[in-house]
Each structure stands twice: as C-alpha cells, then as structure tokens.
C-alpha cells in the first residue's frame, strides 16, 4: 500500500487498513516462525531464500525508490557479504557469528562509501549505474582468480554456525534452527529499514529524489545524503548476502554478475517500487511463480517476463499499485 493511497482512502479507512494490515503481519510472522513444522524442507528453503531476496530487494529500493539513484551492480554488495561470511565460517575465523554478520554489513557499507565518495559527488543516473556494474564485474574477476574463495567453482560446504551465548550455545547447524535465526534477522533488518525510511533521514532521501536542486536550495547536503543512502543500501545488501551463505551452504560466481543484480530490480518492479513493501511482495510473487512452474522448465521465465510486461504497460507501480487501484475502485463503487 503506497503512502499516497493512505491519504486518498481517508482517515477512517486508513485506521481500519492499518489495523487489518498489522493483524495480517502478526499472523504472517507467527506462520513464518512455525513454518518448519508446517511445510517440507524444500519449501522451507525457498521461504528462507525469499526472506533474503526481500531484504536484498529492499536495499536496492532504498536507493531507487527513495533516493532516486539506480545501481545496476547491487549483486557486488551481496557477494561481499556472502563471500566474507562463507570464508569466515569455512576457514574458522575467530569471530562470533553475529560479529561476522556485522563486519560483512560494514564491509558492504565501506565499499559503498568508497564508490559514493568518488562517484556520487559528480555522477548519478546512467554513470552511477555503469560504475556499479563495473564494480560487480571486477569483483567477479577477483574472486574468479582467488583460490581461497573457490575461483570458478565457488566456495562450497560452508558450515552453519554455533553461537556461544556464554551460559549456553545456540546451535544453528540444523536447517530449522538456522531458518528461525534467519527469520528474526530479516525481520530486524526490515524493521530497521522501515525506521530509516520513516525517519527524518528517509524524508531527506525522498526530498532529494523529488528534486535534488530544490533540496540543495533549502540547505540539504545532497551529495552527503546520497552517500549515506548508498552506504545503508550497500551494507544491507551485504547483510542479505551474509545471511544467505550459511543457508545455501555454497557461494558461487552466479551471485556476482549483472544478471544477479537484476534480481532485486525485478522484485522491486514486480511488487511496486513506490511502496516500502513492494520489493517484499515482488520477491514473494517471483518465488511463487518459480515454485508453481517448477515442473515446467523455462515456463517461469516466460511467466515472469509476461507479468513484467503487463505491469510496465498497465501498472508501473507494480502488484501493490494494481491492488491499490482495485481497492480504490471498489471503495468508489461501494460509495456510489
């Protein structure tokens, strides 16, 4: 649901919607928490991947949907997190797992800072997009020549962690345990992004997206805030990658190329990039299409492509945009 549709629907409808959405969200979280008892391990793995893809897509949409910057090489940040965490667990770096995740996020943010400080002072639009693609391709080449990172074969057999809590240990080696850790981590990250977007910082990002010149005129340091947005986005993408490594137990160069970078874009466009929840909905839609067409090789790509064409032609604001329009039409019909 877009912010605009809240106001269009009026105060009463907005309050009811908010109540219903909160209840829906709570039920969904409970269902997700008990998913290991409700679904088979294959579907559980897919749900876990959808959570990770949701965080990844949200990180991209923070840039595109809220700051007006396009990164076409976001997979590079994801890969930084995934490879760092994979290597840390595989080679037994003396770091607690939570610290490993934090370091992965910080690494992503630092690389984003490096690019941002060079590029975002002068470059936006297609130049920034090309630079981020170049970063990802360069990273892929470096990994491809690094034996410790598995070169072309990838880094496989990544063990799942055991977190030492002092008095007890949190054993995440079993899929169900790691899934619950993953769910909580993703919810915390999504909550953090929600807070950022609805804070003063998020409003500043939106002001820059709407009109950078006007934002500069009223005293906003546009370049600085763009770098901050890029750092949060890069750090979050790296966190998504970091969480994925112990889940899939393998990290490969498939995750470090321009094609992998299109995944968060696809999810955001499918769900609706004008809404906070759009990338999450897009990830769920994309995964659902893939899952229900898994017995028909090649069909999922055709369906996703077809849905994308329809969305771009009919509703550029994605699935949530279509739902918003339908709802508005229904309400209008009800009042008439």
């Amino acid at each position: 649901m877009t912010d605009a549709s809240w106001t269009r629907s009026g105060q009463t409808a907005s309050f009811t919607d908010q109540y219903l959405l909160s209840a829906f969200g709570a039920v969904l979280v409970v269902l997700l928490f008990f998913a290991p008892e409700l679904v088979n391990p294959g579907l559980l793995f897919i749900i876990g991947m959808t959570l990770i893809q949701s965080v990844f897509a949200l990180s991209w949409n923070l840039l595109f949907g809220y700051t007006g910057l396009a990164s076409f090489g976001h997979a590079g940040f994801y890969a930084i997190g995934a490879y760092f965490t994979g290597a840390s667990l595989r080679y037994g770096f003396p770091l607690p797992f939570v610290v490993t995740l934090l370091v992965a996020g910080i690494l992503g943010a630092l690389v984003a800072y490096g690019i941002g400080i060079v590029a975002l002072k002068r470059l936006t639009g297609i130049f920034l997009a090309v630079l981020t693609v170049a970063l990802t391709e360069a990273l892929g080449k470096i990994i491809g020549f690094t034996p410790a990172l598995g070169e072309q074969d990838g880094l496989g057999n990544i063990p799942r962690p055991i977190i030492n809590l002092g008095v007890t240990c949190l054993d995440l080696t079993h899929s169900n345990a790691y899934y619950r850790f993953l769910l909580i981590a993703c919810l915390l990250i999504i909550g953090g992004l929600w807070w950022v977007i609805h804070s003063r910082l998020g409003r500043t990002f939106r002001a820059i997206r709407e009109d950078a010149d006007r934002a500069r005129f009223i005293g906003i340091d546009v370049a600085r805030y763009r770098v901050i947005s890029f750092m949060i986005s890069g750090g979050t993408a790296a966190l998504a990658g970091a969480l994925s490594a112990p889940w899939t137990r393998i990290v490969t160069l498939d995750q470090v190329n321009w094609l992998a970078s299109t995944q968060p874009m696809l999810n955001s466009l499918l769900g609706g990039f004008t809404s906070f929840w759009g990338p999450v909905v897009g990830s769920v839609v994309f995964t659902s299409i893939n899952y229900w067409t898994r017995n028909y090789p090649g069909l999922s790509e055709m369906l996703v492509g077809g849905v994308l064409v329809v969305i771009i032609l009919v509703a550029p604001t994605g699935v949530l945009g279509i739902l918003g329009k339908l709802r508005a039409r229904l309400l209008k019909g009800g009042r008439a």
Binding site: P41, G42, L43, F45, P147, D153, T248, T252, R294, P297
Partner: protein, 418 residues
C-alpha cells in the same frame, strides 16, 4: 483410568497403527520414486537435457524389464536451472517428499551445491556430469557417487591419447579460458603429453589464455600462428569455440596444425562447422553407436534403438549415454542391495561393477569415483548430411590415469608423483 477410556485409547492406537502400516505397505508396493535434478533451462540446458534423456531411457528400460525390487521406477524431475542455490532447493524439496535416491549435478556448479547436502538429507546422490575435482576430494562424503571421470583423469587421458596416436607431433600448445577449469585442463593435458611422449621429447609451449565467452580470437590466433607448435588443445567450449574455428580457418590455422584436440563440444562443433570441420579434430566423447567398441555392444545397440524410438532422431548426442549410465549405476546399486534404503544402497554401490554401453564400470571404494573407460572421437568433414562424421574412437582405461584417492583433501597436482 476408566475402562471405557482405556478401551477408546486402545482402539485409537490400533487404528492408528493399522493406518500407518497400510501407508507403509502402500509405499513399499507403489512405484520407486527417484529424484532427478538436471539443468533443464538456462545456459546449462544443452548438457542437462541430454543427461535427462539418457536417464529417462534408463528408467524406461528397467520398467520394461519388470522394474526394480518388483516396483516400477517413477522419476520425479526438477530443473536446477544451472544454479547452485536452485539445486539445493530442489534436493531439499525432493528429500522432503520422502525421496532418498537422487540423480543430479549435470554440471560442477550445481554438484557443488548438491554434494554437501547428501548426508543431512540421508540420501544417495549420483553426481552425473560434474568433473570438478572438489566433488571427490574436499567435498567428499559417503553419500555421493560420481559417474563421470574427473577433470584430472579426463584431460590427462586426453593428452595421453593424442600423443600416443600422434607421436610425430613434437610441439604442442593450448588455448584455454583464463579460469580454474581452463588452466587446469590445459595443465593436465600438457603434463600428460610430456609424460607419455615416446622418448619424452615433446615440448609443451605456454598456454594462451582468453575469455571463456570471447567472440574475437584474432590476437590469440595470431599468437598460435606465430608459434612453432603443430599440435593444439582448445579448452574453449560452446559458441566461443565455433567462433574460434570460423576465424581460424580463414587465416590458415587448419594447414598449420597437424592435430587439434578440443574440450568436449563434439557434435555441437561438427554441426556448426559442417563441411568446414577441421579434418583431424579430436573430442572428449562418451558414445558413438556406429563405431567399435560400441558397435558390438548389445547394451549400446539397445540404447540407440530406444533413443531413436522415443525421439525419432537418428543421431543421438553422446551425452545421452552418460545420463543413462548414471541412472543405471543407481538402479544396479538398488538391485544389488535388494533395498532402497540409503545405507544399504551405499554399501552395495561401493562394491558394484555393472555393464554399460561403454563397457564395465565400478566405483573406487575410498572416494566413490567411477572407474570406467574414457573415449575420444576423431571427427572430420563429410560430403553427406550432417556434413561431418566421426571417423574413429580412441580409448583409455581410466584406472591407469586416475589420481590416488584422497577423500576430504583438496586435490593438488603438485602432490602427485611426476
């Protein structure tokens, strides 16, 4: 406890156990479900679909002969999309559906995702086409069996085969993609050429590296033409190899080299080049029904017949045999174990020897690597459709060319006796 409550409890327990028993019986008498996970879409599909066809034929052949353990085989097929994360999802889904016998890994990238999962899923996993060294080395576990020669064996055998059939060629060179597979295959090939050359007087020049997906080879072709080599190994595969041949032909590379070995494109290059196929082109191959030793092997003849009947195509790709052999390895393991339980099948397969269209195969107990004969085909142009032909097959017994088993330990060629 009241008597009525006790009786109700007993009745409920009895019906529950009867229900469970009937479910168990149904599972034992229904079809034997075997999971299959190959790359059926994406860039890996040309390989994965051929493996799939071979696996389907294997299941059809066994079902036609009465099935396994008195049950028909049902293949539960999934597409791994040439993606390691997808192969993990597929394996978990199949295991979640109660399937403990899996065939997959048509390429190394998906096998590396699949292999470490096998113990957790308590499944027997056949790695059908992945030749990457980690599968039977650092990623080894007792639940996986590889039914294809690994890179070291494959390309060392290829180098040996070419130098033994062309002892007059004294200087060799390679062009390969600048990745670990390209570097390794050129290294293994070159080392074998030096080792098995009569009088050990062959020279192997420095490898020329390129991009695996390159379309312009003018610089590399120029370097090859300037070299003094007479024998060439091409580690570039797919469409890039065809581009290489098209560009090389025009500048006289066909006249310069007396023999060329290529990484395994086989018929793909033959079909694309047709009458312009290099006349002494050697490929890694698995099967050619018209040539010995396949021509006199009844299993090969049956595979050809079944392939033609099910597809209408009289020119089966060689990889079909690899897919059929992989499935047959698992089926024969189940037959020998007289059980489909994971531990029983593993124990049976460790001692298994079975016949295939390419001759007898067995597994090395220590690292579950298949030992079989490796085949290499000589291809050249033809005046009749499809305008290329396979002229002969060479073969090497891989038991002579395999590295020592070091399960759990990373393979390093420096550790081998030179």
């Amino acid at each position: 406890m009241k008597r009525r409550t006790l009786l109700k409890g007993l009745a409920a327990s009895a019906s529950l156990s009867l229900g469970m028993r009937s479910t168990y019986l149904r599972a034992q008498s229904g079809p034997l479900r075997i999971g299959v996970s190959y790359a059926l879409s994406g860039v890996g599909a040309p390989v994965g679909t051929q493996f799939m066809k071979g696996t389907e034929i294997a299941a059809m052949q066994v079902n036609r002969d009465g099935g396994l353990l008195g049950r028909q085989i049902e293949l539960v097929v999934r597409d791994d999309k040439y993606n390691s994360a997808e192969s993990v999802a597929v394996a978990r889904e199949l295991a979640g559906a109660g399937i403990n016998l899996l065939i997959g890994g048509s390429q190394t990238v998906t096998a590396l995702g699949l292999a470490p999962l096998a113990p957790e899923l308590n499944a027997v996993v056949i790695i059908a086409g992945a030749a990457g060294m980690p599968v039977t080395h650092e990623l080894f576990n007792r639940n996986i069996f590889r039914t294809v020669a690994n890179n070291y064996t494959q390309y060392s055998s290829f180098g040996r085969s070419l130098i033994e059939t062309h002892p007059q060629v004294k200087t060799w060179i390679s062009i390969a993609p600048d990745g670990d597979f390209g570097r390794d295959s050129a290294l293994f090939f070159g080392n074998a050429v030096k080792k098995y050359a009569p009088g050990k007087d062959a020279t192997v020049l420095d490898t020329i590296f390129t991009q695996g997906t390159a379309t312009d080879f003018r610089t590399q072709i120029n370097a090859l033409m300037s070299s003094r080599a007479e024998g060439l190994y091409i580690g570039v595969a797919g469409a890039a190899q065809i581009s290489f041949f098209q560009q090389a032909r025009g500048v006289g590379l066909y006249d310069k080299f007396r023999v060329i070995g290529e990484v395994g494109n086989g018929e793909v290059t033959g079909k694309a080049m047709g009458r312009n196929t290099y006349p002494n082109l050697w490929s890694i191959s698995y099967w050619n029904n018209d040539l010995e030793p396949f021509k006199s092997n009844p299993l090969s003849q049956q595979l050809y017949k079944d392939y033609v009947e099910s597809t209408g195509n009289k020119f089966p790709p060689a990889l079909v045999m690899a897919g059929q052999r992989s499935a047959m390895a698992l089926f024969e393991g189940v037959r020998k174990a007289k059980s489909s339980q994971t531990d029983a099948v593993i124990a049976a397969m460790e001692e298994l020897t079975f016949d295939t269209p390419g001759g007898p195969c067995s597994f090395r107990k220590e690292d579950h690597q298949m030992i079989a004969t490796s085949y290499y085909s000589q291809m050249g142009p033809s005046d009749t459709d499809p305008f290329y032909k396979i002229l002969q097959m060479a073969q090497i017994d891989t038991s002579q060319m395999i590295e020592p088993a070091t399960p759990g330990v990373k393979f390093d060629i420096k550790d081998l006796p030179q």
